[in-house]
């Protein structure tokens, strides 16, 4: 692996001092990087894709708690591990969608290691990004994108640019987007809150920049607002992939429904993973369901609206055109599943909310 300095820090102020100034680009070499779980950063360093000069180990910081907020929401510490988050009693009872999404991702070992903050900051699994022998606009701005005319199976069908068709690989983030999570960050300039909608960005002309987080900003927590009353009893994370477990999503859907006593949809959330540079959500598509009887026909209409503007990438056997109808059908299936009840991906679907399921 590359040569770098290592600095464990036990105070937030020290962490912010030690990270120092940095570039706008997520990929630039020679700067400091925070490390928590390290599961993605160290892998990228072995591949020589990421080349930090200094790792600031933030694991000693007291940011690993999960606690209820006074407003009925939940604060997920940035250093709480993905596994501890997914199996936390308050997450499972109030936000089973988040638990299901986390448990659909990676392996048990990696979920034990990976931090919540790091999950947000993991980088694309585009094969060309990982291969330093080929061009990549995300790794070396201006060098080109072989994926557009190559193998695009894991790549975007929405929000891509002429420079980059990479997707964000996280499952957790898809649920966080559906649940309107807020990312709390600290920097030498103070704190600020970033809505999940604004945290990840589309590639546009700067695909080397993944997020709106500044180099010297540290994620301290991810805050979940109180969920709509029906969400805990009507949610599903559907992940479609090339093998049954431990693979990145071709398409994933986080769906949640709040259905009134009259049987009409009061609120709906639909977020897609595996299809764009960020978790994909469209309030217009969700609004189409409000006031409607929850039915496959209504779900199909919302799915069609959500996928409008979808465009296939890749060439020949590398084309990802199949993902457009797949995503539409996955949205319908996820909403039908959410309508029927809640799937937790723990193998134990008789949760506290099961009695609410029809």
């Amino acid at each position: 692996m590359i040569n770098f300095a290592y600095l464990p820090v036990s105070a937030l102020e020290t962490a912010l001092e030690q990270i120092g100034p940095g570039p706008g680009s997520t990929t630039s070499a020679g700067f400091g990087k925070f490390i928590a779980g390290g599961t993605n950063l160290l892998d990228l360093m072995k591949e020589n894709v990421m080349r930090p000069a200094r790792l600031v180990d933030i694991n000693p910081l007291a940011l690993n708690s999960i606690e209820a907020l006074p407003d009925g929401g939940l604060r997920l510490g940035a250093l709480a591990r993905n596994a501890d988050t997914a199996y936390h009693a308050l997450v499972q009872s109030r936000y089973p969608l988040l638990s299901a999404a986390i448990l659909a991702g990676a392996s048990a070992q990696i979920r034990n290691m990976a931090s919540n903050g790091g999950n947000l900051l993991q980088r694309t699994r585009c094969y060309y990004f990982y291969d330093t022998g080929v061009p990549c606009n995300k790794r070396v701005p201006g060098s080109g994108c072989p994926a557009i005319s190559g193998l695009a199976r894991l790549h975007a069908i929405l929000g891509a640019s002429e420079q980059c068709i990479a997707t964000h690989p996280s499952d957790m983030c898809v649920a966080l987007r559906a649940l309107d999570a807020v990312v709390q960050v600290q920097s030498p300039r103070g704190g600020r809150a970033i809505a999940m909608a604004d945290f990840h960005r589309l590639p546009g002309g700067q695909p080397d920049i993944d997020t709106t987080l500044a180099h010297d900003e540290l994620i301290t927590s991810i805050d979940l607002p109180p969920p709509a009353p029906g969400f805990a009893a009507h949610s599903a994370y559907l992940k479609l992939r090339d093998r049954a477990s431990y693979a990145f999503a071709l398409v994933s859907v986080a769906a949640a429904l709040d259905i009134g006593a009259d049987g009409l949809v009061k609120e709906a959330r639909i977020a897609l993973g595996g299809v764009a540079h960020k978790p994909w959500r469209d309030p217009e598509a969700e609004a189409l369901l409000v006031g409607q009887v929850a039915s496959p026909a209504a779900f199909a209409q919302a799915a069609q609206h959500l996928l409008r503007g979808a465009r296939a990438q890749g060439v020949g056997p590398g084309s990802n055109a199949f993902k457009i109808p797949m995503a539409q059908r996955a949205v319908v299936r996820a909403l039908e599943t959410a309508l029927a009840g809640t799937v937790t991906n723990t193998g134990n679907n008789d949760s506290d909310n099961a009695e609410d399921a029809p």
């Binding site: 692996m1 770098f4 020679g30 599961t39 892998d43 199996y87 048990a108 070992q109 990696i110 134990n348």
Partner: protein, 190 residues
């Protein structure tokens, strides 16, 4: 080690003193910052039971236990584990009042749960972690929660049987695992 293109900001070598307890023995070690826990175990301490399969967290052959939790030793730095207690496959058997194999080791033998054996140390440590976590209730759960450990010989049915024997006790491998629980329709592949 310094085989990367030089950069103006390239840091000086970084050497650290760390203390680890590995398989019930205390170590005080001088390590360079870039040494993975896996390379420390194999190359510096000759604990070569832990295998280096892919070195990218994809195969699980390097699975070890840190404070009882299973992790991929290839995806963490040794310096990040300062103060932790590590258990590798060499530490599973009881050699104090034994020799006595760990129940999982015996179950792997009983069920012929390997062919070449390369993935077995990782499978064993992963299964110990799975039992410590306490979330597996059925063979299906075990299949899903062991998915971070690849077996290229394809001994998966026997591995699930062996782990089920120890983790689930009397449960019979292969029986309908969700029969006793109410199931919501439209189940997502976990």
């Amino acid at each position: 080690m310094a085989d990367t293109p030089s950069s103006a900001a390239l840091a000086a070598p970084s050497q650290h003193t760390i203390e680890l307890r590995i398989n019930r023995q205390d170590y005080r070690l001088e390590v360079q910052s870039w040494v993975s826990l896996l390379d420390l175990l194999r190359d510096k301490l000759q604990l070569t039971g832990t295998k280096k399969g892919c070195d990218h967290g994809q195969c699980g052959a390097c699975t070890v236990l840190v404070d009882g939790r299973r992790i991929n030793a290839c995806l963490t730095l040794a310096v990040m584990q300062n103060g932790r207690e590590i258990t590798t496959v060499e530490g599973l058997a009881n050699l104090v009042t034994g020799p006595e194999l760990h129940p999982l080791q015996q179950a792997f033998i009983d069920h012929d749960a390997f062919q070449c054996g390369y993935c077995t140390p990782g499978q064993l440590c992963s299964a110990v972690g799975l039992i410590n976590e306490g979330h597996a209730r059925t063979p299906d759960d075990i299949r899903e929660l062991m998915s971070g450990n690849i077996c290229r010989c394809g001994a998966y049915p026997q591995i699930v049987q062996a782990v089920s024997d120890v983790a689930l006790g009397s449960a019979k491998p292969g029986t309908a695992s969700t029969a006793s629980r109410p199931v919501t329709t439209g189940v997502v592949p976990a």
